[in-house]
Symmetry: C2
Subunit: 168 residues, 2 copies
């Protein structure tokens, strides 16, 4: 038995985006309890030229959305980056989860050998679906999701690795 | 065409462990150039009750080693946690890479449906190989690898996401 392209993508994004949603809920409660301005967390960075929490979450969600769309052979939906609070990020994650669940499973299952193009112009890259998923999308996705966690942990929010791994 | 269990594991660990080795080299050069005590980086943490850089790298390597061993149906090699400098971490990564390349590819390819047991006693968990790889091992592995990166970035080492994604 082989691994299925669907199994290695949609349920994994669902797991980690679900974790992020729960972690952000804890962060919001923490801010409330400690009388911390929510923007102090949403705009927190680990270094001045890194993305703040809010952007890390947007980008993580975008990697999930873009990957599932490209593997499923459907157009990548455009989401404007308008979120500026915890509720906005929760809505962005919920919208992303609804989208990835809407892409036909069979199309994704068939995508290991499909040509996938990312970016445009000088930055355009071409992959086979399998390489795109395991060597490009998932590393980028986990990079931003973990960094979101790390920013909150660094700022004293009481979360642990179990919250990141989540349930599956 | 399906995704292969081998393709989704060994080359991915090789990619990210290779990135970690290159990032640690940059960190060592940074320490040297800025006259920073290497232990100031190796023992740096993002929060007092988180693992320091050195331990994050050890644990990331251990997830690669344990996963490939269990999927390949061979005993997990025991590495003592004796490293205390950059050279030690490079050796740990090199040893891990040599090990994961030594496990027969065919055994790993066959592992999607294999029963895998992790931990012991109350903490014992059982998985099918496929679930173990995509929902358990890879999230843990990326979690520690990204946190190692984030610790160095937070401490001013000049690295970027490209260094983390590495080459594949």
């Amino acid at each position: 038995m082989s691994l299925s392209m669907y199994t290695a993508s949609v349920p994994v994004f669902r797991q980690v985006l679900g974790s992020l949603a729960a972690i952000l809920e804890k962060a919001e409660s923490h801010a409330d309890l400690k009388k911390v301005e929510p923007q102090a967390l949403l705009q927190a960075r680990l270094f001045p030229d890194m993305f703040p929490l809010l952007r890390q979450v947007q980008v993580a969600a975008d990697f999930a959305k873009g990957t599932v769309a490209r593997l499923g052979g459907v157009e990548v939906p455009r989401y404007e980056d308008v979120e500026d609070d915890f509720a906005g990020l929760q809505a962005r994650i919920a919208k992303t989860l609804a989208f990835i669940d809407s892409v036909p499973r069979e199309a994704i299952e068939d995508s290991a050998d499909r040509d996938v193009t990312v970016g445009s112009g000088d930055k355009q890259r071409e992959f086979k679906g399998q390489t795109y998923l395991v060597h490009y999308s998932l590393p980028h996705f986990y990079f931003h999701a973990t960094t979101a966690y790390a920013i909150l942990r660094h700022n004293g929010v009481e979360i642990g690795k179990k919250d990141f791994i989540g349930s599956f």
